[in-house]
Each structure stands twice: as C-alpha cells, then as structure tokens.
Symmetry: C2
Subunit: 406 residues, 2 copies
C-alpha cells in the first residue's frame, strides 16, 4: 500500500488527518455516507453525559445553555454554507426539515401548485414532498424530471423548485446560482438540499439568493450516525414563513406555557420539540475541525483527489465505467463507477479494507473527504480495486449471495 504520494507533500490540510480517529486498517472512502469520528469527540461526549447531564441535571438548560444549541450549532454551519448568522438552525432529521421547508414555501405561493424536482434527488425528498401534496389535498403536484431537464421545466406554474445540489449516486452537481435565478425569474421559490454539499466544498446560499435549504449533519460534517440535520431560511422569509409543525420550541416564549401559539421571530420558529442535547453536542464538537479550515482549500484538494482517482481507475480498471461527470465544475466530492456486479465488488473491497458504498442497481460510490483522505489513500484504494478485479475476487459466492442491507 502506498504510504506517501508526491501530491500530499504540500497539502495544507495534511495535519487535519490527526484530528480524526481513523481505524488503522481501512481506507475510508465513505465519509459522504457517515463521516469519521473527530478524535476529541469521545472526551467531549463523556463531559456532556457525565457532567452536563449527570451533575447539572435540569440546571443544565441554563448552566450549559442547552436551549440555544440549535442556533449555536446552526450558526457554525451557516459559516460553511454561505449563510448569514441567525438563518440556520440544527434540528430534527433532513427528511423532517424538507417537510417543514417545502410546506413553508408552498404557503408563500398559495396560487401555485407545482413542486418541481428531479429523478436524481435523494428518494426521501421526493417521498416527503409527494406525501405533503397528498396530505394537503389542495391540488399540489410533485413533478419529477430528469436532472438535465430541470432548467427547461422551470415555468410560471412552479411554487417550489426542490433540488439536491449533488446527486447522491452520481456526484453530478447542479448550478445553484443559475437555477435559483431562473426559478426566481419564473416567480418560484427554491429549496436546496445540501446533504452532499455542506462541509464538502464552498456553498454560497446567500450569494445564490436561495430561499430555503436543508442539510445533513452526519456526512461531511462528521456529527455521528443519525446526527441532527439543519435548515436554512433566507433573511427575507424568516419572519414571514408559517411552520407546518408549530411546536413549543418554535414559540416566541416557550416557557410562558401560553395556550395559544405565537411564532418566534426568525428561523427559530422552524424548531419544533426539545433539542436533542447529546447528539447536538456531538455535532457541535465535531464542527471544531472546521474552525481553522478554508473551504477553498477543501475544494482544491477534493478535486485533486477525485481527478487522481478517475485517472488511475480508468487506466487500470477498464471494466469500470465512470458515472460521475468528468468535468469537475459540475461534480461534488465523490466519484461513482458502474460495474454489473457492483454489489459483490463493493463487498470484496470492504473485505479488503477499502470502504466505499454501493447504490442499486450497479453503482459503486467513493467519497473523498479532504480533511482525512490523502492522495496515498487514493493510490492504495486503486491498487486494491485493480487486484480484486484482476483476481475476480468479487466473483466469490459469499460476496454475491450476501444480503444487501445498506
């Protein structure tokens, strides 16, 4: 396995690898599914569990300001996605936040009935938008087109354009600014799902004039399995939106225990129930690794890692067909290939210490997280891939028969 590579020599992010607890025996190319544990998080969690909860008990809400965790964590994420302070809260799951945000957007466009999305969107976004249309029973339609047809499908029927910026399977990246502009010109609002964007490369929600966004805490933000998600409401909407779930944490005075609901000012109204202090604290701590990082450096290294991987795989593993865009300008921080026995291939790779993932029916997906992946890792992964293909290691019964679970 390669332990050094010339492209790692002047990497300004090289030292960051030590900030993560990477298992010794794996090359982890799946940070776009579940981010790696930052090394300081276990001690911080111990402090939160044993002391904040164990010793402060109910006093923790004041002593440790638990109640503001959604905004504090939200503001830290805001910096990474080009959002102003006070426009992002960390809360609930990505799916629930899609529900909240699409509902709020529809309410701002009462005369329009079409939600436009694309077939490259992550299925849960489509499910929840379709379910919302059915729930409302007011004639809304979820219209799903191919990713390349989105621009042409933007018409003045649209209430909301709902897109995931980076396709979870292919890594194809939409042009956020251009599509937002086009939708606005047609009078529609735009929601961006940043699941595969936040922490992966510079995002500029304010510069793109996005109306709403949601995103995931457990991929490139390294918040831990099932970490809280986040949502963004643009400054011009945040005091006008109607949340569909009017919970006490979105009330202007939760602890007055009034019987009548009055929305909090700003993005806080999109909060619903009691914040999950343990998991928000893990995400909060995990975000420390971004404190001294330039997102431009992350992007530069991401492109370099992806380009090297594509070049080497295409040269040495010709049976794999590139699914991701070749042009880095329209690609996120992952590279996917097609292979007819993709599931068995990925099982063999994992058994040999290279962790990526598989997406049905035939895509193997590799995520490149510049904070803890090196060019040497890329070379090591390609080497394993080449060996497995040359020796047809994937063609063993155990890999073809095993039940797919994730």
């Amino acid at each position: 396995m390669h332990t050094t590579h010339p492209l790692d020599a002047n990497d300004p992010l090289a030292a960051k690898r030590a900030a993560f607890s990477l298992p010794d025996d794996v090359i982890y190319l799946d940070g776009n599914s579940l981010g790696v544990l930052p090394a300081h998080v276990p001690a911080r969690m111990q402090e939160v569990v044993a002391n904040e909860w164990g010793q402060s008990l109910i006093r923790g809400w004041n002593e440790h300001n638990w109640i503001d965790l959604p905004q504090r964590v939200g503001n830290r994420i805001a910096r990474l996605v080009g959002a102003a302070p006070g426009t992002v809260v960390a809360c609930d799951s990505t799916t629930i936040n899609v529900f909240k945000v699409v509902s709020a957007a529809l309410n701002l466009r009462p005369d329009r009935k079409v939600i436009l999305s694309d077939s490259g969107n992550f299925p849960t976004d489509l499910y929840v938008a379709g379910g919302l249309a059915e729930l409302l029973d007011q004639g809304h339609e979820l219209r799903v087109v191919a990713p390349e047809d989105v621009e042409a499908a933007v018409t003045d029927e649209l209430a909301v354009l709902m897109l995931t910026q980076v396709d979870y399977k292919t890594g194809r990246r939409h042009d956020m600014k251009a599509l937002t502009e086009k939708a606005h010109a047609a009078g529609a609002l735009v929601m961006w799902d940043l699941a595969h964007s936040a922490g992966a490369f510079p995002v500029d929600l304010a510069g793109a004039n996005a109306d709403f966004a949601v995103g995931c805490g457990y991929k490139y933000l390294n918040g831990g399995p099932g970490a809280p998600a986040f949502l963004y409401v643009a400054p011009e909407h945040k005091n006008h939106v109607r949340p569909p779930m009017t919970g006490w944490m979105g009330h202007e005075a939760p602890f007055a225990f009034d019987l009548d609901y009055k929305p909090a000012s700003g993005v806080d109204r999109m909060r619903v129930g009691t914040p999950p202090v343990l998991s928000l604290s893990a995400l909060d701590a995990a975000l420390d690794v971004f404190d001294d990082v330039d997102m431009g450096d992350i992007r530069k290294k991401s492109v370099s890692l992806c380009e090297l991987f594509i070049k080497e795989v295409e040269a040495r593993c010709p049976d794999l067909k590139l699914v991701s865009p070749r042009n880095e300008a329209v690609r996120g921080s992952q590279v996917s290939f097609r292979f007819k026995e993709g599931y068995a291939l990925m099982q063999a790779l994992i058994a040999n210490g290279v962790i990526g993932d598989f997406r049905a029916p035939d895509t193997v997906r590799f995520g490149f997280t510049p904070l803890y992946i090196s060019h040497a890792d890329v070379m090591g992964a390609v080497e394993k891939l080449e060996t497995i293909l040359a020796d047809r290691l994937w063609d063993r019964d155990e890999f073809k028969k095993r039940q797919k679970v994730t």
Copy 2:
C-alpha cells in the same frame, strides 16, 4: 437532613438508587422534567461513540444493527406502557410524534372535523394540533375545554380526542380507560400523551383500547436531555394509517432507493428520517434499569412518597396550597403546590439543594421518581422547605429578580 426513614426499610426498590449517578449534594425532585443519569450510561456511550461509530463507521448499520434501534427501543418501552411488541417506535420528538399521530387519526375519520383536548394539556400538543388544522385548511377545529369538562364534551362530532394523561402542572390524571371507551362509543379515535406516565406508573394502552399514544424519553425513562420520544399505533390501525411525513425510513424498502413511496408494514411507517444512533443508544441503555422492575412496585412507592410529602408539607408549611388531587387514584407521580411567590421560593429551594421546578404563574412542582428517591429524601426536602418559609429565604432580592428561563 434525614438519612433514614422507617418507610424505606422494606422498600423493594431501595437498591435501585445505586444504579443512578445522583449528585451528592441535592435532593432531586425533578425527574419528571429531566431524569437522572443511570450510572452505566457514560461507559455505554463511550463504547458507542469510540467503537461503534469510531471503528465500525458505516459498517455499524449492520454490525450493531443501528437501523433497528427505533423498534428495539420501542419494544422495550412497549412493555412499560402495556403495548404489544411491534406497536411502538422510538423516534423524533414528542411534539413531532403528536403531529404524526393526530394527522394519521384525522385521516381515519375524514368526515369529522373536531379535535378535542383540554386546557391542562401541555401547550406544545395544543400548538401542534392547532397548527395542523390550519395547515390542512379543511375545516378542522381544535376544541379546548377544562379537564373536568372533557367527558361531557365527547360528542359524535369528534374525530380525535387528544389528551395528556397526567397534567404537567397539577399532576391530575385522566381515567384513560373510561375516556377512551366514551370516545369510541361516540365514534372518535383517541390519542394519549404519556409524557408524565411512561415509567412513572403502570400504563395499559392495550387494555384501555387506546388508538394512538406518544411519550417522552427524557423524563421518567431517563434517556438524557432531549432524548428521542416514542409513538404507539394500535394493532388494528398500524397497517392502515397514512403517515403525514413519508420519509425513507418509513418506506417498505428504504435501501432500494425507489422513486415511489410505499409505506412499510406496521408502525415502522411512522418513522421518518435516519435514526439518531447516539441519543437512541443512550435511551436504550437507560432502559436497562427497568429490566427487573415491577411497575406495580414503582406505583406503590410513588403513592407512598407523594402521600408523605403532602402530609408533611400541609402540616409544616401551611402557606402552600395543594394543587394536585388529594386522591391518589387520580394523581400521577408528582405533587404541586401554589404559593404566590412560587418562582422565588423554587429558586431558594434549588440554592439549598432541593431541586423541583416552577410553572407559571405560581405553582411549585415536585416529581417523585421511585427508582432513586427515598422517603428520607422527602423528609429532607420538607425540612428545607419549612426552613426557607420560616426564614423567608425566598424573599431575597436575588431570588425575586432573577430571570426565569426554565
């Protein structure tokens, strides 16, 4: 301070106190707001963070069966609330679960438009039901009556009767079985919020024939601040309900990534997004303390603690007026008193090591959690209360001026 009390001598739960990490210097009568840390949870969380997340990474979904945590934890809670296996999932927040369940119930009664609740319900339940009615814009009405008027207000206009079994302020307990029967006779469905019931005394959802329930993970279940909540769907409804938020974790095959939504069979369809593994694992571990406990023993001790507290406070602190029902049959596991300077009184109590809480405008509330509270604690708390009132310790500027936050 009393360190022994004759009523503690034959307490079958006495040994349980050692299963919790109680701070040395406090008498904690607020387990109905935030439960105490079970002593083994920090080590378990360390294992989950450092090993399950840190070492297994994405493989944790299979290796540790994270994906089934909502059902596994749900089944453990089911046992405590008289529900059959496979009818409870642990997920999201209580407020979000109220939204899901009330929406699902309304969908089963399309010709009816009234949601009945009472003014003793926790405000977030009322907010979210009212917000749902507004969101649906289909003529639904949230009707709120006094707790004692609920029975008379059950008519055949009702779609859903939505009640919290134990009043968070007063501890008054509704008769679950009788009200459910009455609502069913009127053709309505019933949802019970068990926030102050689950883990506090025996609940019999199946025996009461309840249709839906929700509850809280961080009060009597000791799951930690903001722990995941739970929801229950009766066996006769669980394959028919339409979830309002149709997320991928409620899909029959989440990892097929189909573009079309098909609900999972059973209560799983009420799940929405990726399960919060860290906080669900904390709740899962916390539930261990119930494994060898008889809920009947918990209730017996709870009544004994509450009766002793009422008797002693009424004898020694006549300025406090009992708000909770005197009859234990209609009381939960808390006791509340009214005092005009209740906020300052509670601040003085907390400063003197007795932690209860305050609910506006003038109620001081004391929760009795039999797993870790003794009769000696009750006597110690009353002694402090008596001293503070005799010395007018509450009448100091600092206690009257401090800003109320929780």
